[in-house]
């Protein structure tokens, strides 16, 4: 068995372990062991991948394995990774690991919560290791449905409404994707579902014109494509902390990854023809998300709209279709995943203490919980793209790459999109000033305590990752930019 399959097997074993776990400590033990195993696995994979590449491996996908699953329909269980998936797997492993600690104090139905959480990770990891359209789509859907129960049962606020809205909108997106997959399969002559083989077959342009938008919108729903992003603020605001982290941090990246890997890679002609429509939509999303974040009063809503803005930027960069911008898009996925997870983790911890997320009811938190507040400031600075953090690297690469496209339309859009940096600074600094600094407004808040060890650990891990990516980006940007090359050359065909 290929060792990539371990990424799916480990969460499944964790579910099994949870099934037999008798008390909270055993549940925690299973989760920590499993999440650490996944993290080790992801790091090992990254090291092995770098070594293979350094050793001169030039294949598009490494560590591939393929087993026939449904022979009459050409469906295989096929796995393989390139630089983009390695980075995404690493991101997912970090978020899962930190997510476990962020939900350390989960009180209600702990076992069930973590079981659905593990199922969610099965979907996420499975999606990133698959190179077969059917398998990919299956894992994609596996990752969606646990959200309903995770938000509906363990969420807060208008959880039932948000859970239903999120599930139905994302499932609607996946209906589009299924249509797109069938179009790709039959358009390419119904002989293979393998991603790399399909890329070599030319799908008729008239098919592409119908199925490219379907696929792109389908994945775009999860990637917060304007105007299909409305599930995101409600969903993220209602979800429990770990789920918000995983969903905004990793799941939304499935959308960008799918748009890049499936829609653009397999249907390049239509992608080039129709890119302008989606560029305008994502451009609106970038600016609109940032402006919306400015007027929110709930901490989670602010971060959710900020996610809409940043994830739109991912799609925006993908659609610019240069090597630099695409590299930037993947870096942005990574960077945003880490940042937003950090944000949601801190917000969850603050909410657990103050029992409110309304920024009008909080002030001067720096005095009572300095550790959490400092982390929040760091997350905010990373979010607005301060050099030294990952956000700067990613956004810089995106904007440089986008500006490379030499015509008025693209450059105008790029300039409009860059304004989001300023708007981001507005809402982040306003928030930091209002909530963290000043005098403590509510006397009851003076009794609150700072982060405990199980809360500090995930925050530190995430900050180290963000700063690491910001200070030493070359390793990542190198393997990413090599791996976006096949897609770019497909576009130049």
């Amino acid at each position: 068995m290929n060792f990539l399959s371990l990424f799916v097997l480990v969460p499944l074993l964790m579910m099994l372990g949870l099934w037999v776990a008798r008390n909270v400590n055993q549940v925690r033990g299973v989760m920590v062991a499993g999440a650490s195993a996944l993290l080790v696995l992801a790091v090992t994979l990254a090291v092995l991948y770098l070594r293979e590449r350094a050793g001169g491996a030039t294949a598009e996908m490494l560590f591939t394995a393929s087993h026939v699953w449904y022979a009459p329909l050409n469906i295989h269980y096929a796995v393989g990774v390139d630089g983009i998936s390695v980075v995404m797997l690493l991101l997912s492993a970090i978020i899962v690991f930190t997510g476990v600690f962020a939900s350390w104090k989960m009180q209600m139905l702990t076992k069930e919560f973590f079981m659905w959480f593990c199922l969610l990770s099965v979907g996420v990891f499975g999606f990133f290791i698959s190179v077969d359209l059917f398998t990919m789509f299956m894992f994609y859907e596996v990752a969606l449905i646990p959200m309903y129960l995770l938000i509906g049962v363990w969420g807060s606020g208008r959880k039932e409404y948000s859970a239903m809205k999120l599930t139905l909108m994302l499932m609607g997106g996946s209906a589009f994707i299924l249509m797109g997959i069938l179009g790709i399969y039959y358009g390419a002559g119904a002989t293979t579902m393998s991603l790399t083989e399909l890329a070599r077959i030319h799908i008729p342009v008239e098919w592409q014109r119908i199925f490219f938008p379907l696929t792109f919108i389908g994945f775009g729903v999860l990637g917060a494509l304007f105007p299909f992003h409305t599930w995101s603020p409600d969903g993220h605001a209602s979800a429990p902390t770990a789920v918000s982290m995983l969903h905004a941090g990793v799941l939304m990246k499935l959308g960008g990854y799918g748009c890049f890997r499936i829609a653009i890679y397999l249907m390049p002609e239509a992608a080039k023809e129709q890119a302008w429509i989606f560029l305008i939509l994502t451009g609106i999303g970038v600016v609109y998300g940032a402006f919306s974040a400015c007027v929110q009063k709930d901490l989670k809503y602010i971060n959710a709209y900020s996610s809409v803005s940043h994830c739109s930027l991912v799609l925006f960069a993908i659609l610019m279709m240069t090597q630099t911008s695409s590299t930037g898009a993947v870096l942005q996925m990574l960077s945003h995943g880490l940042m937003t997870a950090l944000f949601f983790a801190i917000i969850g911890m603050i909410y657990g203490r103050t029992h409110t997320r309304d920024i009008r009811e909080m002030s001067g938190l720096m005095q009572v919980m300095p550790f959490l507040s400092v982390c929040y400031v760091i997350a905010g600075l990373a979010n607005l793209g301060l050099p030294g953090f990952s956000g700067f690297i990613a956004e810089m690469t995106i904007f440089v790459g986008s500006f490379e496209v030499n015509d008025v339309f693209h450059r105008t859009l790029t300039i409009i999109a860059t304004t989001s940096i300023v708007i981001t600074a507005v809402y982040i600094l306003r928030l930091v000033g209002k909530v963290l600094y000043g005098t403590v407004g509510n006397p009851a808040h003076l009794q609150l305590t700072d982060a405990t060890w199980d809360e500090r650990l995930p925050l530190i891990v995430l900050i180290v990752a963000i700063a690491g990516l910001g200070l030493m980006p070359w390793g990542f940007s190198h393997i990413i930019s090599d791996s976006v090359l096949p897609v770019i050359s497909q576009l130049a065909r």
């Binding site: 699953w69 449904y70 022979a71 009459p72 329909l73 469906i75 059917f134 789509f137 299956m138 894992f139 859907e141 596996v142 449905i145 309903y148 129960l149 509906g152 049962v153 959880k159 039932e160 239903m164 599930t167 139905l168 499932m171 609607g172 209906a175 299924l178 249509m179 069938l182 179009g183 399969y185 039959y186 119904a190």
Partner: protein, 473 residues
Amino acid sequence: MDYSQVLLMRSELSLLAVIIILFVYDLVAGERGRRYMHPLACVLMLAHVLVNIVPQADTLELFGGMYRSVPMISLVKTILSVGTLVAVMQSGEWLRREDTRYKQGEFYTLTLFTLLGMFFMVSAGHFLMFVIGLELASIPMACLVAFDKYKHHSAEAGAKYILSAMFSSGLMMYGLSFVYGTTGTLYFDDVAAQLTGTPLQIMALVFFFAGLGFKISLVPFHLWTADVYEGAPTNVTAYLSVISKAAAAFTLLVVLVKVFGPMMAAWDTMLFWVIIASITVANLFAIRQTNIKRFFAFSSISQAGYLMLGAMGGTPGGMTSMVFYALVYMIANLAVFGVISAIEQRTDGKVSISDYDGLYRTNPRLTLVMTLALFSLGGIPPFAGFFSKFFIFMAAFGAGFKVLVFVALVNTIISLYYYLLIVKAMYINPNEHPVEAFKSDGWTRVSLLACTLGIVAVGIISGIYDGINAFAF
């Protein structure tokens, strides 16, 4: 024809043997012996399934071509038998009640006779045999629907069922008379060879289609479904919603493709609109239901629409995916009705969706079975329903019906919405007095366990699909 050939009808014969044994046992066993009636029925049905577990590999014709069997048909019979076995296993608790205990023998005999009718229906090579099989499957069914005759609803449902069944049979036979009139024969092969698509033949097709449409409860022939499903005893509803529907849908596919094949241009437009109507109308009605049995009645109408997607284009791939879909649907629906019936028996007839509020707190395992079944019906991976939906869409798409697939896909979102409403009731809705924790009898638990295993494994293990595919014609 010699007697060795008759033995080739072994699935019918073994089923008949089961029926006779149960019938005789019911006669001789007194009040005390009836206690063993249910285990005996289960064991005998299991034996019947085991005898037929390996589909007959050869093609055969009996009675001058009136009866015929190919491996696929034999496989369908096995699938129907397995479903019936599960339905019989689940009915023990209901049949042990004071008011039904004395007539449980009748339940088994009648149920198995309808199954026998379906066997003849799917094996028919001649329209007369087909009609006999259909009637044998319909008339005892009406008795079953009215089984709880002291209940007003049940009696009413029985009357509704028999009236609509007779009406649809009449309609269908009227259509068959046109077939005979224009072709001079009722043998499937001869009819297929002589059909040219004259207006009279199109009329025959429409009448025939309407007749079977009633059985499968496709829109616009679905009006009896909700009332009958609601009124019938839950275990009968389970049987009616899966076995009877799967048999009729498979027969419709075979007859449309093999007999009315030359007139495909006429029926595929018709089927196109009927499928869209079935899926959409049923989905919209299901959202409004408050009674869980009515709810699943509408759910089953929409599932029937999906099932018929397999007939579009008349390809072997379509047939495979339809049989696979029927199998997966059968497993999931039997799990659902198993849970409903278990709860109904324990709570003295609670069948409202709001009765399921907070079920997770008291009966987590039952809730889990229900959840998995609902996910499977809604087409959520990694459960079997995802695979069957994907394959049936793939088949219809491959046959060129892209718009139809798109409409069906949009409808899966609506169906997911209402399936999630039940999940929401069980997990999220608060309830002061949820259904108390209880343990069902062993047979029910075994059947639910089997269904759960099926829901989880049938999709992931590709051998089952491959097996069906090997027999598709």
